[in-house]
Subunit: 117 residues, 2 copies
């Protein structure tokens, strides 16, 4: 059942926070690190997990790996991402992450030429 695969992706806090950020647009690994305040290996592994299950896609830009939500989403994935967005809107953790993302968006754009944020 494809639904199960989707829910497996959603049942970890770090992955939820990653998906929440990605809803705003593509982002590279080091910026996830900064915004979420989590070690590189953790971020990288969770992104790998999401990628292996087709929720996100990657593109290399120089040294940076820029991740984005997969372009081709099943109806089920679309519905669940929308639901997550809905829930995230009211949750302190997710709001805080988005606030940090916006706060640093300019620094990000200036410092790294990876084109994300």
């Amino acid at each position: 059942m494809e639904l199960v695969r989707i829910y497996e992706c959603l049942c970890d806090a770090t992955r939820l926070r990653i998906l929440n950020l990605l809803a705003q647009g593509p982002l590279c690994v080091c910026h996830f690190q900064e915004v979420l305040g989590e070690p590189q290996v953790k971020i990288s592994k969770h992104l790998g997990y999401l990628r292996a299950r087709g929720l996100v896609a990657v593109e290399r830009t120089g040294n940076w790996m820029v991740y984005e939500l997969s372009a081709r989403r099943s109806r089920e994935l679309e519905a669940n991402l929308a639901c997550l967005q809905d829930c995230a809107r009211e949750s302190p953790v997710f709001r805080r992450d988005l606030a940090r993302l916006r706060k640093r968006a300019k620094e990000f754009a200036a410092s790294s030429p990876c084109g994300c944020a």
Copy 2:
């Protein structure tokens, strides 16, 4: 994060099928067994899992344990159950389960006095 707890409940096929049936109303363990065609221990354990996390509630009626969706649901749970319903509507597995449930509803009502179905 409460959301993670919810998604953990949703990332198993048997539990999804259980929740899909419960959306139609309360049901006792042996009827889950029949409709889902799964062994007693499996059903019972997954119901225990859902119960421990507050998604379902139980009430004893004679020998039967009748499960139902928890009456007090957070906004997040409500949203995700609705989303699941939405996805289930288009999935063969879930539709088949519901068909079987309806087909046997009368037998159930006649055979066991547990008041479910």
